[in-house]
Amino acid sequence: MAVMTYREALNLALREEMRRDPDVFVIGEEVGLYEGAYKVTQGLLKEFGPKRIVDTPIAESGFTGVGIGAAMVGLRPVVEMMTFNFALLALDQIVNSAAKLNYMSGGQYNVPIVIRGPGGPAHQLAAQHSQSMEVYFYHVPGLKVVRPSTPMDAKGLLKSAIRDDNPVIFIESETLYNVKGEVSEDPDFLVPLGQAAVRREGTDVTVIAYMGMMYRAMEAAEELAKDGISVEIVDPRTLQPLDTETIIRSVRKTHRAVVVEAGAGFAGMGSEIATEITEEAFDDLDAPVARVTGAQAPMPYARSLERLKTPTKEKIADAIRQVCYANGSR
C-alpha cells in the first residue's frame, strides 16, 4: 500500500499494464510529449517510446477509429479523451463501431478498447466542458461504463478495463485527480467491473452516489449523523453493468433510498436506479425513492449559478431528511 493521488494511481495502472502486456498502447491528444493535459500519462513516453505512446492531431473521430481498428486486430488500445465532452466527436465510432462489431461480426471480432478521460462538472468549466457524459454511453448495448471515485478504484478498475475484452468507457474527473488515498502497489491488484462498494455503513437510508457526488454525500452523512440519521452510502463504481444486487441488499436493510447524480435528472442514472429499486424492493420501501440531480439546464459559467445547477451537500441532506420523514427543518 502507498498513499498517492488519483492521477498517480491511473498513471501506475497504465504503467503496470503496459509492462505486463506489450499489446497495450496509449493514443490521444498531447499524451506523449506534453505528458497529458492532466498529466495522467506523465513519464510514459520516456519509458515506452513513441510507438506505444502515440500523439495525434486534434481529431477524436479519427484516433478513436484507429484505436478500434487496432483493437480488432488484437491490440489493447487506451484512447485518451482530453475531456470526455470531446468524445461527442467520436460518438459514431464508439456507438456504431466499438459497441457493435462483436455482435455484427457474429463474434468474429471483439474490440478490447478503453476510452478514458475526465468528465462531469468541475470548477467553472462552463456549459460545453462540464457534462456528465456517462449518460450518453450506458444506454448503448455493448459498452461497459466505469466511474471510479477513489484512487484505489481508479487503479484497480482501469486495469480491469484494459484486461476486459469489451469496449470500456472510463470516465474520470478533473476534481478528483488530486484526491489522495491508499493504493495497492501489487501489479495483480484488480477491482472487478460490475461491483459496487459500500462506502459507509448505516441503517436509516441508502444513498447511491459516485464520483464527486459520493464525497458530498459522505459530508452530508457526517452532518446527519449528529441528528441521529444513520446513512449508508453505496458507490456503484461501474454503471454498466450495474451491481443492483448490492444496492437492493442495502435498500432492503434501510428501507429508504436517495440517488444522487451530477447531471440533469431526466432519464438519468437516478431514474434507472430508482426503477430497479421499485421493481425489486417495492415492499421494503417506507418512502418513495428520492433523486438529487443537476438542474435541467446547461452548466453556467458563473460560480454562484454553477452552485445552483449542481447537487450540493445541503440538497443531498434535505433529500435524506425528506425520505426519513425527518424534515422538520428547512
Binding site: 428501507h255 417495492f282 415492499d283 421494503d284 420501501l285 417506507d286 418512502a287 420523514y325
Partner: protein
C-alpha cells in the same frame, strides 16, 4: 352504450372473498372483452380476471392489495360519455347482487355433475348473452358474472368496511413497507394515523400502533421492568430478550383451511379403516421401471394413485358424495392429491386418473405439485375431486388419518414404506410394509364397504403387475 360491472369473480368453490393483487389496466384505459383486467388472489391460487365487456375502464373501486367479497363491484367499464354514477353508488350496499342471487340461484352442488368444468368462465354463460337485466338496474346494464352471486356468502361479506363506496376518500395511503408490517403484525391500517406527507402511514406509525396494546397492559409490562433494575433476581430467571410471543396473521390460505376443516370434521361423521400392505413387489417393480431409460420417475404415491383409481372403478360406493337427499356416485375418478406448502396445504386434482397410465400419472402429478408450490394452478385444477390421497410417507410417518375434504366421500392417508421384520413360511424375514388409513363419510358408506375397498387396494399393490395392464 353498455355499462359493464366488473365484480369479484368466484374462482373456486370455497371462495368467499378475493384480493386484487394488481390491476393490469388503469382507469381510463380502453379494454376489449377478453382482455386481462387484473390478477386476483383466491384462497388457493392467483388467477387472471378477464373483462366481460368492452369500453373504457372508467372506475376502479377496489385497489390493488385490497380484498372484496365475491360478487362485489370492483370496477366499471363503460364508454366515455356514459353515466356511471348510479352503478357506482349502488356498489356501497352490495344489495343488488345479493338480490339477484336469491332470484337466480340454483343449489351450487347441482352444477357439479358436469365433471370437468372446462373453464371457470363456462359457469358464467349467463353474462355472455346480453340478457335483459332483471332487478333494479337500468336497461342495458350487462350483469357481469351473475352466477357468482349464488353464494350466500355474498350477503354475509358485503358490509365490509372496504366496500368501496368512497372510492377516493376511503383509500388508505401507506408506504409499501408499512403495509407489509401491518399485514404481518395484524394492525388495521384504517385505524392508524399517518405521520408522513399527505397523511401517509409509514413504518414508525405502524410500529407505534402495534406497540400500543402492549403499553395498555400495565400489569404485564410492569413485571419485567420491575425485575430489570434488581440484579439480585437475575441469576434466578434466565434472561430471555424479545417478546414472549407473537401473533402471526392468518394467510389467506391458512384462513381458508381454518374455516374449512371444522366444516368437515364436525358435520361429516368420519370413520377410519387401517390396513397394511406388503410393498416388496411394488418396490421392486418401481425400481425396475425407474431403471428404464427415458421413462418418467415413478413415485410410490404414483403407484397408490393408479391403484386407487382402478380400484374405485370397482367400488363406486367409495367414489361418492353425500348430497343431502341422495348419494352421488361418480363413474370417473378425479383424484385429489394433497400437496404440502410452506403456508398450508392444497389439493390439486388429477382428472380421469382411472384412464391414465402410470407414466402419465407420474408426469401430471409432479407437474401439479410443482405448480401448486408456485401457486400457478388454474382454478379448474383445484376443484372436482371425487376422492383424495394424502401421503406423508416422505416425513417418515408410520400411519395417520386425514380429514375428508367435502363433498368428497373419502380420503386415503398413506404412510411410509418401512422395512420391518415379517413372519414368512420359513421363519423371520425382512419385508417392506406400508400402512394406509381410509377416512370415510359414514353418511355415504359403512365400515365394511371401506374395508373391502382397502382390501382390493392392498391386493392390487401386492400384485403390482396388474397396474401395468
Amino acid at each position: 352504450m353498455a355499462v359493464t360491472k366488473v365484480v369479484m369473480p368466484k374462482l373456486s368453490e370455497q371462495m368467499e372473498a378475493g384480493k386484487v393483487i394488481k390491476w393490469l389496466k388503469k382507469e381510463g384505459d380502453r379494454v376489449q372483452s377478453g382482455d386481462i383486467l387484473a390478477e386476483v388472489e383466491t384462497d388457493k391460487a392467483d388467477v387472471e380476471m378477464e373483462a366481460f365487456g368492452s369500453g373504457v375502464l372508467r372506475k376502479i373501486l377496489v385497489s390493488a392489495g385490497d380484498k372484496a367479497p365475491v360478487g362485489a363491484l370492483i370496477g366499471v367499464i363503460a364508454e366515455e360519455g356514459d353515466d356511471i354514477n348510479a352503478v357506482v353508488a349502488q356498489a356501497g350496499g352490495g344489495a343488488p347482487s345479493a338480490a339477484a342471487s336469491s332470484a337466480g340461484a340454483k343449489p351450487a352442488m347441482a352444477d357439479r355433475p358436469a365433471a370437468v368444468p372446462p373453464q371457470p368462465k363456462s359457469e358464467d354463460h349467463a353474462e355472455r348473452t346480453p340478457s335483459p337485466s332483471k332487478g333494479p338496474e337500468s336497461p342495458g346494464i350487462r350483469r357481469a358474472q351473475e352466477t357468482v352471486a349464488q353464494q350466500p356468502a355474498v350477503t354475509e361479506m358485503a358490509p365490509r368496511p372496504q366496500a368501496p363506496a368512497a372510492a377516493d376518500g376511503g383509500r388508505v395511503k401507506a408506504s409499501p413497507l408499512a403495509r407489509k408490517i401491518a399485514a404481518q403484525s395484524g394492525v388495521d391500517l384504517k385505524l392508524v394515523h399517518g405521520s408522513g406527507p399527505g397523511g401517509r402511514i409509514v413504518r414508525r406509525d405502524v410500529e407505534a400502533a402495534a406497540a400500543a396494546p402492549a403499553a395498555a397492559a400495565p400489569a404485564a409490562a410492569a413485571a419485567p421492568s420491575a425485575a430489570a433494575p434488581s440484579p439480585a433476581l437475575r441469576p434466578v430467571t434466565p434472561t430471555v430478550t424479545g417478546p414472549e410471543y407473537e401473533d402471526v396473521a392468518l394467510s389467506t390460505m391458512r384462513a381458508a383451511i381454518a374455516k374449512r376443516m371444522p366444516l368437515s370434521k364436525a358435520p361429516v361423521p368420519h370413520f377410519y379403516v387401517t390396513s397394511e400392505v406388503a410393498m416388496d413387489r411394488a418396490w421392486e417393480l418401481r425400481e425396475e421401471l425407474n431403471g428404464l431409460e427415458g421413462q418418467p420417475k415413478i413415485s410410490v404415491n404414483d403407484l397408490v394413485i393408479r391403484t386407487c383409481a382402478l380400484t374405485l372403478l370397482h367400488h363406486p360406493g367409495v367414489n361418492a358424495s353425500f348430497q343431502g337427499e341422495s348419494i352421488r356416485v361418480f363413474h370417473r375418478v378425479h383424484m385429489g392429491i394433497a400437496v404440502a406448502l410452506e403456508e398450508g396445504l392444497i389439493t390439486p386434482v388429477l382428472r380421469d386418473a382411472h384412464a391414465k397410465t402410470l407414466a402419465q400419472i407420474a408426469v401430471e402429478a409432479r407437474d401439479l405439485a410443482e405448480r401448486a408450490r408456485q401457486r400457478k394452478l388454474r382454478t379448474q385444477e383445484l376443484s372436482g375431486a371425487t376422492f383424495s390421497i394424502s401421503n406423508l410417507g416422505m416425513f417418515d410417518v408410520r400411519d395417520f388419518s386425514a380429514i375428508i375434504n367435502p363433498p368428497e366421500g373419502a380420503i386415503l392417508a398413506v404412510g411410509s414404506v418401512r422395512k420391518v421384520p415379517v413372519v414368512t413360511d420359513e421363519g423371520l424375514g425382512v419385508g417392506r410394509r406400508m400402512a394406509m388409513t381410509i377416512s370415510c363419510d359414514h353418511r355415504v358408506m359403512d365400515g365394511a364397504m371401506g374395508a373391502r375397498f382397502l382390501q382390493d387396494v392392498k391386493r392390487l399393490l401386492e400384485e403390482p403387475l396388474r397396474l401395468l395392464v
